[in-house]
Symmetry: C2
Subunit: 344 residues, 2 copies
Amino acid sequence: MSELTERQRLILALIIREYIETAQPVGSETLQKRYHLEASPATIRNEMAVLTEKGYLRQPHTSAGRVPTEEGYRYFVRQLMGHIDLPPDTKRTIAHQFYQAGYDLDRWMRLAASVLAQQAKAASLVTAPHVEQARFKHLELISTRGRQVLMVLVLAGGDVRQQMLTLAEPVSQEQLSTAASRLNQLLSGLGPEAISALNAPLDALEQDLVRLIVEELHHSSQILGSEVYRDGLTNVLAQPEFAESEAARRALRILEERPLLEDLLTRTLETTNVGGVQVLIGGEGTWEELRECSMILARYGAPGLATGALGVLGPIRMAYGRSISTVRFVAGLLSDLVVELHSE
Amino acid sequence: MSELTERQRLILALIIREYIETAQPVGSETLQKRYHLEASPATIRNEMAVLTEKGYLRQPHTSAGRVPTEEGYRYFVRQLMGHIDLPPDTKRTIAHQFYQAGYDLDRWMRLAASVLAQQAKAASLVTAPHVEQARFKHLELISTRGRQVLMVLVLAGGDVRQQMLTLAEPVSQEQLSTAASRLNQLLSGLGPEAISALNAPLDALEQDLVRLIVEELHHSSQILGSEVYRDGLTNVLAQPEFAESEAARRALRILEERPLLEDLLTRTLETTNVGGVQVLIGGEGTWEELRECSMILARYGAPGLATGALGVLGPIRMAYGRSISTVRFVAGLLSDLVVELHSE
DNA sequence: TTTAGCACTCTCGGCGCGAGAGTGCTAATT
DNA sequence: AATTAGCACTCTCGCGCCGAGAGTGCTAAA
């Protein structure tokens, strides 16, 4: 398959740009007028025919304008778009918002989801960072009533897990504190495997606790073990392609159903390293559920420490340039935060 | 305005029941056939005319069947529906699911949202319980790096708040532990006011910490300070009244926009005590945004300790019976949990 | 008070039609 | 050889029309 000429590339880019904006099939005359092209409508038509031939455009019906195919969008994203960056002042505004949120992870996550949704005018999702190798940092045991004990577990990176547990028999706060401080010394900095392998004399209470801790550490290493933040769901509904609710349902189901989302994220992002951005256009033949949607996904965080995922979901006719640059930028900010939180 | 006759009440109830099921205007003949009524269609028509006169029914157009008005739904909910309870085995199934979740608040909340959404076939929301008078229970300070310190604050009731803070100058873990244990003794069981009023010699570090703690306690006393759980958003889209996306957007915006939701919850529930259920039908003239929706809201928790809100959002044509009983039942379960967590 | 009968009203789906937009092809032009 | 003007052709979309069907309100009889 021969390459496209410069003019064909230009026309393809303009059609996509126009279509993304108007959601209407683009005709040769419109294009020429709107962008003051040198060539005449007839020439443009010829080029359009070529692009249609090559599979980058299609006609909704015989006598309508052209619409990009998924292949067309892919070509656009990969070859035509170039590396778009957000305008510096937009970046500054966003960064400022984040820095105002201090070190509150929850606020960062919410803010990230909100920024993504607003900038991309799409639905967004952000998963809290999860440690790849969860490591013990600190344990606290607080007696509440009789055999009920609140266990607060701090992981390396500042992640805090709490759990209420019921002991076999009542234990005084004093005993709890002793056990906690012993385990704090013993387990400091260790991962689940190291803890399991540990060979130290433990009493029954401590053994129980160690078992729970290992469990919790394992759980924390899963990608969706932690929370998922969403925003901008109604943005999706504003898109004309989701005007009838059935299409909209299918789209939003993707974000609502945890197992589906989990599968999607793990399979898409396992080959992506931090900083990389994945663009899924129309399900790519693999994901039946998002046949009418596109997703832009990225990993953030620090490899080996903690990583998370974030992205946006919108119609295939999505403002890829702006969305991709926003996703990349926000991923960068969150990565910085993660590094910050883990460095010591 | 005179009361309705028994037959009129029956007909109104049946029309509402039928309309809730089919979403179609109900005609006199259909009604008579479907429910094997004694009276003839003509009689039923006469009764319908009366009900229309009184404002409980209306006709979409001159020659269509009848549709309940909002007033009709209100009458139904207040006077006709009676006290419906979930079937015992449904209750058992639900309760079982909850008890399997142990004492993990997050799982309870998620589960509650999921159960509400599924049972009511509507969108649901659940706010985490917030303490009305947040009381200090335990403080932990963990040094991470230089001047960065992780503060873990446990409130009465087992609520855990964490916050990263940056000190003016580096402080050793030892000093931190000392400060923490001092404050733990000093502040145990106190609320924000009591802490502020406290008159004790404190060093600079301790003063800073106390200020943060008071701030955090205040924050925790706000209704939406804690997290909001949602589920079943796509259920709303499945309803025929939200077939065009514009209506659906308006509906889902209510759940997405925090300030709006906050306003709605506080104003609706401030007069509602725990156990009570509020039914908002079509915005009740006050809430422009949910003119096309109904909400069923309830408070749960233990007054004076911690309370939260939960509810469902659906079209005005909502299965009120089932929804209300589900909301009530789930609220009861969550109340039990809160009491459990707070008793000591 | 209830009911059968009946004329009337209004929606809804299908159909035809004309306007409009856009195409592909051909032949002329550069 | 590439470009372009001209033109016939195609297809959608909105509009109005019409007949079927459902449901009503009224009247008069039971």
